[in-house]
């Protein structure tokens, strides 16, 4: 759980009681507690009015910062939209499941399950902590869906409302199905083992009456194991045969079938005990291996695409009314209203208002773009100024982002890489069949027909590659959980093997190799104390990130009142402070000659006197240079950026491969660049920050999204890497390679077992007891070897 370190408690006097952030100078006091902002304070007020202060008892500072979000939820009153969101509804109650990224500690859990204390119309609420979901039952006549969402937001748990991926029922169903099959197989395995023991240990003569009874009973238990639990292996083997592929499922299905047939034959004819025990054990272990392989992270969504970032509804303007409508009902010619901080859902023309659009989603460019009336505004931008009116020229499905997502290049199936076990199993099946038929043929030539049948079936039974089939899933899932502990989340186990084969790395710049804290600031020129105060007083009025960085850099807590403050977005700010006209902004804004062409330069003018400039440089993630140095030893390095090339000279010391560094790359450029690398037979791993790299991430052989907030951002990719784990990248790659090594060794071990078994099998000497010992023994060896070896390698790679 998220317990804070003792250090944090010492500083408690300056910390926000709700979220734990440092409190600014003008503190918000309430109830003898201090808050960093009005948002946190109001959450506390709501909670204390409803006697929910236990929230603060379970964890220190359990809240998340309440930045002022101005979301509009009017659309939730539209029955059509609400109907699509709720799970269940009848005359009085509705049930809805929300995905709430802010859920992170036991306080959250406690609070969200006590919602009924805030409003009595909420019947109950249940949290699924790992999935960060809460399902709420409420009386929809007394308390509308919109009110519910507003209430959740007001206490700091704003749900992510999206029609796309929030609740994934399908996964759950297949998972449950597998567990049922395991349960049946385990149940039968246990009973069969019990009933087989007398046979193994030998029966006294007076007990022989039980022999056939036990045999028939075993057969009854084998039926559900073969036809229910083991069904998938037959289906898969048959499908693969039809596609002329021999995978590991073929010898498995063959082994299961032969074991069942021979057991039926022996028991019915009364000639032997059959191999029911081995059969049930085999299916049981195989299914467990499959279950281990299927483990996924429910709280991360790897399939989320741009649509989940789009609003669920847009405000449609008709003659005299505003009406929210669902996104897919948007038509060409519709007039829509986009408020501050809303995403533009379709390609549109600006009709009214002052549009300043942040396209960082689409292009990666961090500075917002100003649009004039009549200009085309592409979908995916976020309006950061006043409300604007737009006319739709292309509905959602044809817009820019959509066209990128539907690009054939990455709609078309990615070339599926053969895993190691795929390669091995092709040869394995052929060799196995050769041995089986060979043994049978030799015995038949000698004239021992019964021996021929016995050896043929025994070969197929003993060589059934159970241990072989388990070595990959167990190794890879151990690696998965090691990576997970290091905040590196893979979509599935196959990604590990893919990672081990990578020979080329492509990095995106912004958000990937840059640190989340932002900029490195330096100032050219002289400033005295008073001038610093003037600049700081003016800049703190602006919400622009560079202004905020400036205020932080100056670090003076003395402010003067500002008169006639003006902000021209994308240009600069000005105002009169202590009777002096202070102007901060770009060279063109101040009418002076620019020193550099950098976009990251901000000039200062005080009373027409030029005082110098700030230059802002992106700060890199710690240890970037060493990281690049290490990686470049074995991998080709490339860097792509959507930004201007002003950073080139700062990047060169860390990234000395100048001709593999490209700037001003659009998402399509990035995608094409990766494609061209792949055409030169490179295995490309792409590290990008998110949506604007989505195309490239999908095109690459292994796409990793680097993000500092895994819950909020997870575009279509193979893996998600927490920014904090970025410097461990070489170790992750090493670990993936070691994992493949472990798989190779364990294949060797299980083949040794197979050879030992085959030695007896070809002679027709295989007894049920021998098979019943060898099969579990090899399985246990493989499982313990893979997990111990993988963890030893992890320790060696310092990934514990």
């Amino acid at each position: 759980m998220n317990n804070l370190s003792p250090q944090a408690e010492i500083k408690a006097s300056t910390q926000c009681y709700h979220c734990g952030n440092d409190c600014p100078d003008e503190q918000y006091h309430f109830d003898e507690k201090e808050f960093c902002c009005i948002g946190c304070q109001s959450v506390y007020q709501i909670l204390s009015e409803n006697q929910l202060c236990n929230y603060y008892a379970y964890n220190n500072t359990p809240g998340k910062t309440q930045s002022d979000k101005l979301s509009h939820y009017d659309y939730l009153d539209e029955p059509k939209i609400a109907g699509a969101l709720v799970d269940y509804t009848d005359d009085t109650i509705s049930i809805i499941t929300f995905y709430i990224p802010a859920i992170h500690c036991s306080s959250c859990l406690w609070l969200l399950e006590h919602l009924y204390k805030i409003n009595s119309s909420i019947v109950s609420s249940r949290i699924d902590f790992l999935k960060k979901q809460v399902s709420i039952t409420f009386k929809h006549h007394e308390f509308s869906l919109r009110e519910l969402v507003i209430m959740l937001s007001s206490i700091g748990y704003e749900p992510v409302i999206s029609l796309q991926d929030v609740v994934k029922e399908q996964n759950k169903a297949s998972d449950r199905d597998l567990i049922k099959k395991i349960a049946v197989a385990g149940f039968c395995f246990g009973n069969v083992m019990l009933l087989s023991f007398p046979e193994y240990f030998g029966l006294a003569s007076f007990e022989h009456q039980f022999k056939s009874f036990f045999g028939w009973l075993n057969l009854v238990f084998a039926i559900p194991v073969v036809f229910y639990s083991g069904r998938d292996y037959f289906i898969s083997a048959w499908k693969n045969l039809r596609n002329k592929v021999l995978n590991l499922d073929f010898p498995l299905a063959l082994g299961i079938a032969i074991m069942f047939i021979r057991s039926v034959f022996e028991i019915v004819s009364g000639t032997g005990a059959g191999f029911v025990d081995t059969l049930c054990g085999l299916v049981f272990f195989l299914l467990i291996g499959r279950w281990v392989q299927q483990r996924t992270y429910h709280h991360l969504s790897f399939e989320r695409d741009y649509r989940s970032y789009f609003p669920v509804a847009v405000t449609l303007l008709t003659e005299d009314t505003e009406k929210p409508i669902p996104m897919d009902e948007l038509k060409v010619g519709d007039r829509i209203l986009i408020r501050n901080n809303e995403v533009i859902p379709a390609d549109t023309i600006l009709m009214k208002g002052d549009a300043v659009i942040d396209f960082s989603f689409v292009t990666g460019e961090s500075s917002p773009v100003q649009k004039v009336l009549g200009e085309v505004v592409y979908a995916g931008g976020r309006q950061i100024n006043e409300a604007i009116e737009l006319e739709v020229i292309k509905p959602v499905s044809q817009s820019y982002l959509t066209s990128l997502w539907n690009n054939e290049a990455f709609e078309g199936k990615r070339k599926k890489m053969d895993t190691f076990s795929d390669t091995v199993s092709r040869y394995f099946s052929v060799v196995l069949l050769l041995i089986a038929f060979g043994a049978a043929a030799i015995w038949w030539i000698i004239g021992e027909n019964i021996k021929a049948w016995e050896s043929f079936t025994a070969v197929l039974i003993i060589a059934c590659p159970c241990a072989l089939a388990l070595s990959s899933p167990f190794t890879l899932s151990a690696v998965l959980s090691i990576f997970d502990r290091n905040k590196f989340y893979l979509k599935n186990t196959a990604v590990v093997e893919q990672m081990a084969r990578i020979n080329t790395l492509v990095f995106d710049k912004t958000g990937t190799i840059t640190a989340p804290e932002g900029f490195k600031i330096s100032f050219e020129g002289d400033l005295n104390f008073e001038e610093k105060c003037l600049i700081s007083s003016l800049a703190r009025n602006s919400g622009h990130p560079l202004s905020r960085e400036m205020v932080k850099w100056i670090k003076i807590n003395e402010y003067f009142p500002v008169n006639s403050y003006k902000e021209i977005p994308g240009k600069g700010i000005e105002g009169i402070v202590k009777n002096k006209l202070v102007r901060i902004g770009s060279a063109s804004f101040l009418n002076i000659n620019s020193v550099k062409t950098d976009t990251g330069t901000v000039y200062i003018q005080i009373d027409d006197h030029y005082a110098g400039y700030f230059s802002f440089r992106q700060r890199w993630r710690p240890g970037l240079k060493e990281l690049f140095g290490k990686l470049s030893k074995s991998l080709g390095m490339h860097l792509l950026s959507g930004d201007q090339d002003t950073e080139r000279e700062f990047l060169l010391p860390a990234f000395p491969w100048e001709d593999q560094m490209h700037f001003k790359q659009s998402p399509q450029n990035k995608l094409d660049y990766i494609k061209s690398l792949q055409q030169n037979n490179k295995m490309v791993m792409m590290l990008g920050d998110g949506l604007n790299d989505a195309g490239a991430l999908k095109q690459s052989d292994l796409g990793i999204a680097v993000t500092d907030n895994i819950n909020n951002f997870s575009p279509g990719c193979d893996a998600i890497l927490d920014g904090a784990g970025f410097e461990k990248l070489p170790r992750f790659i090493k670990q993936a390679k070691d994992a493949v090594k472990v798989i190779h060794i364990s294949f060797g071990i299980s083949l040794t077992y197979n050879v030992i078994g085959l030695f007896f099998a070809v002679q027709g000497l295989l007894s049920p007891l021998f098979a019943a010992i060898l099969m579990p023994l090899s399985t246990v060896t493989i499982i313990s070897f893979t997990s111990i070896a993988t963890h030893l390698f992890a320790r060696k790679n310092k990934l514990t």
Binding site: L52, C53, L109, F129, L130, I179, A183, F187, F206, F210
Partner: protein
């Protein structure tokens, strides 16, 4: 020794009951979330109205 037939019948029946119980639990979603209930049980029922830190 014929009692063995009866005993084995009993044991299989008992095991079947457990299997059915497991299926029932699965269907009710008892295994869907294995983390949250463990935390939930630690919460106090009532609100002690002092929350001084």
């Amino acid at each position: 020794m014929n009692i063995l037939y009866f005993l084995i019948g009993c044991s299989v029946l008992l095991a079947l009951i457990f299997l059915i119980a497991f299926f029932w639990a699965m269907k009710n979603g008892q295994n869907d979330d294995t983390y949250t209930p463990g935390v939930r049980i630690l919460f106090d029922d009532d609100i002690p109205n002092e929350n001084n830190k």
